[in-house]
């Protein structure tokens, strides 16, 4: 693999383990037709330099909203954001548009879920990559931009000769590689990948994940990987946050969350049991009953109690479950305090 230029990567490697992003008590509400949807509720997260965080949850859990709020990309008039988003010592919440624009694509960038609709169909892919470089580096020559585009394309495994083609000439996996090229064009400190492989075949997914892992190691960037696939998390991440109904219900290192002998949130257990296991023979799967509540109709008490196999009366009460903390491992569930169901 080509080496990535820049002292930034060097610098990042030196400062591994320092806090890069810290989200404190983040809440996001959407208001439409006087209906208030509580998409994200009191989320606390942090990502260290060079670390990969997996944000896991189902549709409507608030994963993408969390990511968009970091970049200040939420709709201005229909959403309210509360809390703090501290990126490299600065609070991005309420930062000016000018400030945010200088950060987006340069220090924090995002890979979107659907490569089919995220690329511009009427511009050549090379020029879409060049755009990002030009915007953040006003003084560099045309020639240098071209060189960088070639360099980045070969990094993501696309022959630079294809830079003059349009998005429709690429397959799904190749389009996602172009998206990744755009995202890493300015060598960001934080890469947010929003379900980068959901639209791809398993074989292509394996290729893309392998490539992203290689790039992450090389660049020393931090990654926030949004996904619903625990298999990908096991392969790629250092830390895991399980999100349900806008809250983080379990948070910890990969070992904390994946070690079956440790205590877990009933939702985490439910997620693991829902995955068809290819190494064991079982006749029926064990799904989580019921459906994810709509963010405008969140239940009182623990938001998971209507679907929880361990739910007790106590869980329906008005209080939010307390947090059980054991070292790096956090679980938000009543079963760990006195009044709740016993383990």
């Amino acid at each position: 693999m080509l080496s990535i230029r820049s002292s930034r990567a060097e610098h990042r490697r030196k400062n591994m383990g320092e806090k890069l992003l810290e989200i404190k008590n983040l809440s996001v509400r959407y208001t439409a037709d006087k209906v208030v949807s509580r998409a994200v509720n009191q989320v606390n997260l942090s990502i260290d330099k060079g670390e990969v965080l997996g944000l896991v949850g189902e549709t409507g859990a608030g994963k993408t909203t969390t990511a968009l709020s970091i970049l200040g990309l939420l709709p201005k008039y229909t959403s309210t954001v509360e809390g703090e988003i501290i990126f490299d010592g600065e609070n991005l919440k309420g930062a000016s548009e000018k400030k945010l624009r200088s950060i987006r694509g340069s220090r924090i960038s995002m890979i979107f879920q659907d490569p089919m609709t995220s690329l511009n169909p009427v511009f050549r892919v090379g020029s879409q990559i060049a755009d990002v470089i030009r915007f953040h580096n006003r003084n560099i020559s045309h020639h240098e931009i071209n060189q960088r585009v070639d360099n980045i394309l070969s990094l993501v495994g696309i022959p630079p000769s294809r830079k003059n083609e349009y998005a429709h000439q690429f397959s799904g996996g190749m389009k996602q590689r172009v998206m990744i090229a755009i995202a890493i064009a300015c060598n960001p400190d934080l890469l947010i990948a929003d379900e980068p492989t959901t639209a791809l075949d398993v074989t292509i997914q394996a290729q893309v994940i392998k490539m992203m892992r290689g790039l992450q190691k090389e660049m020393g960037s931090s990654v926030m990987l949004i996904t619903h696939d625990l298999g990908i998390v096991a392969n790629f991440c250092d830390k895991v946050a399980i999100m349900y109904a806008g809250e983080i219900v379990e948070y910890g290192t990969l070992e904390d969350v994946f070690d079956k002998s440790r205590p877990h949130h009933p939702y985490t257990n439910g997620l693991f049991n829902s995955i068809p296991n290819i190494t064991e023979r079982t006749k029926r799967l064990t799904p989580i009953n019921g459906l994810t509540p709509h963010p405008s109709e969140l239940p009182d008490g623990c938001k998971f109690h209507p679907r929880c196999p361990k739910g007790s009366e106590y869980c329906q009460s008005g209080d939010n479950p307390s947090k059980y903390i054991n070292g790096t491992h956090m679980i938000q569930c009543h079963q760990f305090d006195k009044g709740g169901a016993i383990l």
Partner: protein, 318 residues
């Protein structure tokens, strides 16, 4: 096989003419499905899975070969007779967002097949049947007059299933019915489909790209690559002892949610599915195959029985 064969395909072919040449979507596919059994059809996108399903249902005319359903050759059946046959053969589509008419209510969608086939004389009986169907698939009666856009993916897929069941079919083609759903909902729908199969004695063709899904629901599995049959055997022996390099690659590409696997670099298949337009002679997988020899590029491997009821098309076993 001692059991009754419900559906048989003999050398089924479906080609599409394109400006660039002949597109071989389904090429020489033969199999039998016994009554009450499930055949899983697996492959990457563009390998002809959906085309196979649609050709069997005669939603697309076949280019060559025979389709025998319940002892009758339906390959060249007249459209009128086909309409009657549709009562026994149904399909559940992949995308519960675009396969339901947005202008129809849940009730109307499920009622439509009953109206077309004039199953009941009056509206009251139809309403009862719709209510019964909604109960079977686990949809609450209060959704009678809602529109699909008001419901989530899991509920929408339940509507699609209820619609397919409306006419009491014997045979259903399930075209990636769970791939658009969340894991927890996916497990609910898979369990529902397995329960329905046992209760109503259905026969399924279950099309999917996800091998882990197909393991649970299928009796036999057929792996397709660029329209060609690559491997066919029982679900158990496919997972215990995959023979074809393509099947092996598909299996190793599944991310396993277990950290003891972390760091172990699975063998990742290079490249992407090549074009199905005028495919070259020889094995179609040869270009991506880690074990390809010269012979693979020249000669098409035959689909042969290597072990008991375990068929594979690969020169490694011939």
């Amino acid at each position: 096989m001692s059991e009754k064969v419900l559906l048989e395909c003999k050398n089924l072919k479906k080609y599409f003419e394109t400006p660039k040449g002949m597109l071989h979507a389904v090429d020489d596919v033969s199999f039998k499905i016994g009554e009450g059994k499930t055949l899983g059809v697996v492959g990457e996108s563009g390998c002809g899975k959906s085309t196979l399903g649609r050709t069997i249902l005669r939603l697309l005319p076949s280019t060559d070969g025979k389709i025998i359903f319940d002892g009758k050759d339906i390959t060249d059946i007249k459209p009128k007779d086909m309409t009657a046959l549709r009562r026994q053969m149904q399909i559940i589509f992949q995308d519960p967002f675009s396969s339901l008419d947005p202008k129809m209510t849940v009730y109307q969608i499920i009622e439509e097949p009953l109206c077309i086939h004039k199953v009941f004389k009056n509206k009251q009986e139809r309403t009862e049947r719709v209510a019964e169907l909604m109960e079977i698939v686990g949809l609450d009666r209060r959704y009678f007059n809602t529109y699909p856009h008001e419901l989530d993916g899991g509920r929408r897929q339940r509507i699609g299933i209820a619609r397919a069941l409306a006419l009491n079919p014997k045979f259903i083609v399930c075209d990636e019915p769970v791939s658009a759903l969340d894991v927890s909902i996916q497990a609910q729908i898979l369990n529902l489909m397995m329960n329905l199969k046992d209760k109503l004695g259905l026969t399924y063709i279950f099309i999917t790209h996800d091998l882990s899904v197909v393991k649970h629901i299928s009796d036999d599995i057929l792996v397709l690559y660029l329209g060609k049959m690559v491997e066919m055997t029982s679900s158990d022996s496919l997972f215990e002892d995959p023979l074809h390099p393509y099947t092996k690659a598909l299996l190793s590409a599944i991310p396993i949610p277990d950290i003891s696997h972390k760091g172990k670099e699975a063998e990742i298949m290079k490249g992407e599915v090549t074009s199905p337009i005028d495919p070259p002679e020889g094995c179609r997988f040869a270009a991506r195959c880690p074990k390809a020899t010269e012979r693979c590029f020249k000669e098409m491997p035959e689909f042969i029985e290597v072990k008991e009821k375990h068929f594979v098309a690969c020169h490694l076993y011939n």
